[in-house]
């Protein structure tokens, strides 16, 4: 029996199709270890060899990787939620109710999405603190620190734009508080310093641009939805690519 299994497995792994997909063998050799990292599009974000000290959890706290994992989880659960949610003020709230009560595993996905979002704000913040405390922003990594700060801003904006989507009291008034601040922007907000002097009105200032109106309504919901589901995630992906690429180019910080 095992002979037969061996013959079958030998035949399968020798077919042109198998060899086209898997470029190297499974034996534990240095070559295969290198190729595993090297010949996989996801794994090859890593170098083939890493410094022993840099791998230690007590050095990295795993926070950057966890932030990425949470972003992936958020994307997956977010796409699932998008199947059931319409950004229309007349039905958005009911859609969330359906997700919580009717949709199979809907409440799980919504709960995971929310927890992961809060978690990501936290892990990005802790990751930044780790990078600061280990001096990992010092030359040659200055630019990657800036990219990291931009990713922090994007994380906060993503979390904040998602806050409006359930269209409940919590959402409406949290965003009302937040966008009131936009009206107070110096120069560009009607209530901000020099705003009125520069011709800002409630219907042409930066808050109006953000909300698509003078108060949080249908236009604001649609804008926040598009920002939350398309625009901001795209920016995050672009900056993530730069972030990881710079880590490879500048080398991983860590004890020398």
């Amino acid at each position: 029996m095992s002979k037969l299994m061996n013959r079958i497995s030998n035949w399968v792994t020798s077919t042109p199709f198998w060899k086209a997909v898997f470029r190297h063998g499974y034996e534990d050799t240095a070559r295969n270890r290198s190729l595993t990292t090297f010949s996989n599009v996801l794994y090859h974000l890593h170098p083939v060899k890493t410094r022993r000290e840099s791998i230690k959890i007590r050095y990295t706290w795993c926070m950057g990787g966890t932030s990425l994992l949470l972003f992936v989880i958020l994307t997956v659960t977010g796409v699932l939620l998008m199947f059931y949610y319409v950004p229309d003020t007349r039905r958005a709230y009911q859609d969330i109710k359906d997700i919580m009560t009717v949709v199979s595993f809907g409440s799980t996905f919504r709960n995971v999405h929310r927890l992961a979002a809060h978690g990501m704000v936290f892990t990005v913040w802790v990751h930044m603190t780790r990078v600061f405390l280990t001096g990992a922003y010092k030359p040659p990594r200055e630019f990657n620190w800036i990219v990291g700060v931009l990713l922090l801003v994007l994380t906060l904006l993503l979390s904040w734009t998602g806050y409006l989507l359930p269209w409940d009291q919590l959402a409406l008034w949290a965003i009302t508080v937040g966008t009131k601040m936009a009206a107070a922007t110096p120069f560009f907000g009607v209530e901000g310093p020099f705003g009125a002097e520069l011709g800002m009105r409630p219907d042409n200032d930066v808050k109006f641009m953000l909300l698509g109106g003078t108060e949080v309504g249908q236009n604001a919901l649609l804008r926040f939805y598009v920002l939350h589901c398309v625009v901001l995630p795209l920016f995050v992906v672009v900056f993530l690519a730069v972030h990881f690429w710079r880590v490879r180019k500048d080398g991983f910080s860590g004890p020398l």
């Binding site: 890593h46 600061f132 200055e142 009206a183 209530e191």
Partner: protein, 274 residues
């Protein structure tokens, strides 16, 4: 000749490179590398995989017990009291008590982000890269920790200690009973002119000068006492660092002025107030 038997590939006079040596081994780098490296597969992937499993399991487990909140449908007819932003913005919302919205909501967040981005260019101390150290970079670590602590404390206050009308409620107090309206606040220039019996203009001048003095003294004293620090940084870096630092320290100072002396504004101009 005995050497000839070892020459696997004969040297070519036309090439600048050649095979130097053949050695036995299992990995490309046979001698010990200058850096103590190890294969990413499986050593690093192992950590990452376990962490991913743990985080995903934790999320799924928590999702069974922590329900995402869903309140009444959005309505302009009822305004919740207090209105709270998401927790990560409650630090800024808390600052709204002490500053006008253009400072708390716009200027300070922008300054925080710019300040963070400037860190690598302001901190030119080459020490402490790749390890945790306090003794080699006391100012940098103290500075960052102070900012983080301020941020976290403000968030904690916003989440747990603010209730109706954004008043302070201890956890054991009844959160449904309104607090009496606090005593009125005054402005620093008016206080000066009233208490010292001087003109409004002189009162304003004193408070403006105090503000200028805060920054002037804050810039001059450290440069005087830490000459090495000043020289290492140079004028531009030093001034940028110290101004950002003084603004950060100014936040708890303004909070203290308000809480201890009931001062609402320290600086009054026709266009904005601080």
């Amino acid at each position: 000749m005995p050497e000839k038997s070892f020459e696997v590939f004969p040297r070519s006079p036309k090439k600048t490179y050649g095979l130097m040596e053949l050695v036995k081994g299992t990995a490309p780098g046979v001698e010990k590398e200058p850096e103590d490296t190890t294969f990413t597969w499986p050593n690093l992937f192992y950590n990452e995989f376990l962490m991913a499993l743990a985080v995903t399991a934790l999320l799924l487990f928590l999702s069974l017990y922590v329900q995402a909140p869903l309140e009444e449908e959005a309505s302009r007819d009822t305004t919740p009291n207090p209105m709270k932003a998401p927790w990560y913005f409650l630090g800024l919302q808390e600052l709204l008590v002490f500053f006008d919205p253009w400072i708390a909501g716009v200027a300070l967040p922008v300054l925080i982000m710019i300040g963070l981005m400037l860190i690598p260019f302001l901190d030119i101390n080459p020490k402490g890269r790749g390890s945790y150290t306090f003794s080699e970079r006391k100012f940098a670590v103290t500075n960052y920790s102070f900012g983080m602590a301020l941020w976290v404390v403000l968030i904690i206050i916003g989440v747990w200690f603010r209730g109706l009308d954004w008043n302070w409620y201890w956890l054991w107090e009844n959160g449904h009973v309104h607090k009496p309206v606090a005593a009125g606040l005054g402005d620093l220039p008016v206080m000066f002119s009233r208490n010292l019996g001087i003109s409004d203009f002189a009162g304003k001048a004193i408070s403006d000068l105090l503000m200028l003095a805060y920054f002037a003294i804050g810039l001059i004293i450290p440069a005087w006492f830490f000459k090495g620090f000043f020289k290492r940084l140079g004028v531009v870096r030093y001034i940028t660092t110290m101004v950002l630092f003084l603004i950060m320290v100014g936040i708890p100072i303004k909070i203290a002025l308000r809480l201890v002396f009931s001062i609402k504004y320290a600086i009054i101009t026709p266009w904005f107030k601080i």
